[in-house]
Point group: C2
Chain length 210, copies 2
DNA sequence: TGTACATCAGTGAACGCGCGTTCACTGATGTAC
DNA sequence: TGTACATCAGTGAACGCGCGTTCACTGATGTAC
């Protein structure tokens, strides 16, 4: 990876560096346990300097979550685009998308940015209604996106068992969030990858009629 | 529910009441955001009184996690026992166990105690090696328990696709943890229940050969 | 080209509040003789 | 049955530290005329 692209480098704008450093720390320790002081120190500015960029510690949380939503969306766009370049059949597309997702989690073992959302979910109090709404929207976007895809699949490949496409979409999301928890809790990053690949197999079985 | 069995009642030992009250608060707000002060106030003792029962705030976390592990184990024992009373076939047993689990999550909408473990996973710093090890052990117990069951199923009902029994076991766990995150994040407790029932359908499809 | 002003990206010191923790002490209950 | 001592389940007040936040100020860069 080129040094200039590292968001922690001194050359990138301070605000970006704060976000990058904060994200790393929050993933490891949680939001509360990450002090403004240590974030500022890591970026080599003063504590007051931090408040020039974010009027609140809450503002940092919001920025992090919103950034995460955007990045996740872009990742899904990329993966969707690549899958539809390669194949026409919606089931085959889905299977390859899941493979691409799994590969992403191999690349970034341990530093799953997705947990930002999950960990936010477990710290209600901190975050105002705006943040909660953004979080909720992110989950709904994910659901609608994949629901549509599963609907397409069902048309071409009637499932062996009648399932709700929205539930299937949620399952992918839940399995990734839950896989991250297991991976951390068990100290084995591979758990997440294996869960995505297992889900892929189950999707295949469900829609590959006799 | 009988009033005498309510762990928040003034009749039950103070230590138990602290645990119950703390668990409720931590699930809603997270560990850091729940102060010793408010726990003590809810139990109607002084802050110092709290430290008579738990030498540390960390000791509270440990007790909560260990209790959770025990309770989860008991729940699984119950469910397993009921399933093997009703049916002989391991696949049918598994399917009924999953239905019983789903029913549990209907009963307790919103107050999923399981999150205690998940939220602990996202707050490394707080908890010493002992707590982390306990958490890890809990996941491994879950995996081995269900791995054995999936192995049995595979013998009687060869799966349509070769899957790892350990991964299947992890999937149940991941889906429940992830389902809780989705349920909270989307503000819809039903999401969790639907995920467990969907997983049930997928298990059925996977092992119900032609 | 020089001067005046504005904006940007911070600094350093201070404030105050809440939180976890400690400690000397206390009243009620149990036990030994 | 009475007395002495021990243990249990706390209380109340105090301490000190870290944290988020504020505020007056500053040097560097950009812009207008």
């Amino acid at each position: 990876m080129p040094a200039t692209a590292d968001p922690r480098s001194a050359r990138t704008p301070t605000r970006e560096r704060i976000l990058a450093v904060a994200q790393d720390a929050i993933i490891v320790k949680g939001f509360d346990a990450t002090s403004v002081d240590e974030i500022a120190a890591a970026v080599e500015i003063s504590r007051a300097g931090f408040f020039y960029h974010f009027h609140d510690k809450n503002a940092l949380a919001r920025a992090l979550i919103e950034r995460q939503i955007v990045e996740e969306g872009e990742m899904l766009n990329e993966i969707t685009a690549r899958a539809s370049e390669l194949l026409d059949d919606p089931l085959q597309q889905m299977l390859i998308m899941m493979r691409l997702m799994a590969e992403r989690y191999v690349e970034v073992p341990g530093g799953y940015a997705g947990c930002i959302l999950a960990s936010a979910t477990y710290q209600d109090r901190l975050f105002d209604a705006e943040v909660k709404a953004a979080n909720r929207r992110a989950h709904l976007v994910w659901r609608e996106r994949f629901r549509a895809h599963f609907d397409c699949i069902a048309v071409a490949h009637p499932p062996r068992e009648a399932v709700d496409a929205g539930d299937m979409a949620d399952m992918l999301n839940a399995l990734i969030e839950g896989g991250m928890i297991l991976a951390r809790g068990m100290g084995d990053p591979q758990v997440l990858v294996r869960q995505v690949l297992l889900a892929q197999q189950l999707v295949k079985v469900l829609y590959s009629g006799p």
